[in-house]
């Protein structure tokens, strides 16, 4: 199987309410898939389901490869809340190893330092910092570093840059793009922002009211959308005129 994530006919609901209605999606190994949806579309529920936090009514989710213990890791919309406020950054990043009991304390810290540097945070400056002293962008990088330490088969990013300032967004998106190239990271990026998905995902699925209404190669979906909802999304997105400078 060359797919790292395969979701087949997933149905999730509470009582009468159906949140996800026969959703199918797959992420190829080393690939990057985007999921676009507005609030109430069910995208967060899907993320939780992939993480194993939500029991489906029917359908299946299968994940291949990666560390046996942590096949999937997630990067959240609110980066600061995903970090334990009472621990230092280096401990947070080393946590996947600590929980597994891998290596000595020194080895774990060395690995953590390496990863901090890899995500662009100087270990000398950030290793002992507490999450409350970090900015949104820095916290998101720490979260990404920790996710990498867990050596997941798949990284799920749930609105990874929505709460960040524009300039910071760009840096985090660049980081994710770089990691894809260097480590062959497989990504599922969930976002309401089609432009973000365009940048980072090769293919995209559009989620509306719990159903996938369109999916395909990102460039195709954006230039020639087939479903009216996709067209609505594209039409509503504010456009900046293309810069003529530089």
């Amino acid at each position: 199987m060359s797919d790292v994530l395969t979701i087949t006919d997933l149905v999730i609901g509470y009582g009468d309410r159906v949140v996800l209605d026969r959703v199918s999606l797959s992420v190829p190994r080393g690939g990057s898939v985007g999921l676009v949806g507005e609030s109430g579309s069910g995208k967060s529920t899907l993320a939780r389901a992939v993480l194993g936090l939500q029991k489906p009514r029917s359908g299946s989710i299968s994940i291949e490869g990666g560390g046996v213990d942590h096949p999937v890791q997630m990067v959240f919309q609110d980066p600061i809340s995903s970090l334990n406020p009472h621990r230092a950054t280096i401990d947070i990043v080393a946590e996947p190893l600590t929980i597994r009991g891998e290596g000595t304390t020194r080895q774990r810290r060395d690995t953590a330092r390496e990863l901090l540097a890899r995500v662009g945070l100087d270990p000398a400056r950030f290793a002992d910092a507490r999450p409350s002293t970090l900015s949104g962008g820095q916290a998101q990088r720490v979260a990404i570093a920790r996710a990498l330490v867990a050596r997941p088969a798949l990284l799920v990013c749930d609105e990874p840059v929505s709460s960040l300032d524009v300039s910071v967004q760009a840096r985090v998106l660049n980081l994710l793009a770089d990691l894809r190239e260097e480590v062959g990271l497989s990504l599922l990026v969930i976002s309401h922002d089609l432009a973000v998905v365009r940048m980072i995902a090769d293919s995209v699925s559009v989620l509306c009211d719990g159903r996938i209404v369109e999916s395909g190669e990102t460039e195709r979906v954006i230039s020639a959308p087939e479903h009216p909802y996709t067209r609505q999304l594209l039409e509503a997105a504010p456009r900046l005129p293309l810069s003529t400078s530089l």
Binding site: L51, L53, H70, S81, S82, N84, R87, E95, I99
Partner: protein, 281 residues
Amino acid sequence: MALSELITPVRSAAPRARIPRVGVIVASCWLVVLAVAALAAVLGLTIDPLANDYATISQSPSLAHPFGTDNLGRDVFSRSLHGASASAVVALVTVVVGGGIGILLGVWAGLRRGIADAITGFLTDVTIALPSLIIVATIVTLAGPSLPTISLTIAAFAIPVFARLSRSATLSIATENHVIVARTLGASGWRVLTREVLPGVLPVMMPFVLTTLATAIVAEGALSFLGFGLRPPEPSWGGLIAEGRTQLALAPWVTGFPALLLCLTILSINVLGEHYREAKR
């Protein structure tokens, strides 16, 4: 014309912060002094609190007897300090045992949810609804009025309130993403509880810990006053106050000083609790 204008007057931050600070220093000093003195008394460095001395009945405060003597010639100062140590034991046992069990119970219920949470909630609600003082008095009467019995019974009634508070603190922390992350990383339930949840719950509980200290002291005082606490001649604040009632006209210091100590102690604990709340804001 450009005008430099104050839209609102600058409210000076000073007065608000200063008054509590003096109070906090005084309160802390009082509690420390009291603790040291009570320790000294327990170590036997003061006059034997049970020693009757018919030669010095109902004497007003003097150098030899700073708080005076009662109608049996016993030194009120020493008796008050021994009473302080009794109150301290009750307060600490209540917080450590009652709080310890209550918090663990509440956090566990908050994390587990489902049946465990429902049962815990039910037991908690029932216990809180019970008239605690009366039940404690009954148990103490049946089991005999010893310090361990009194402490543990009062502690038992502190458990449900600690459980409820820590449960609600846990519920809000459990939704924080770092708890979810720990779970996806395969952390055991115990690890999640101690490393992710508890460090967030404990600070929230602190003000309540302080008020519980105060409540336990008052509870013990009330029990002793009503005659359900430590039996005379064992000294306890409530007991001393009760004994002194009959001597109020002749020797008001017998009731007065223990009552004063009680008031100052409760006041000090409350001041510290208030300061903690303000500081955390």
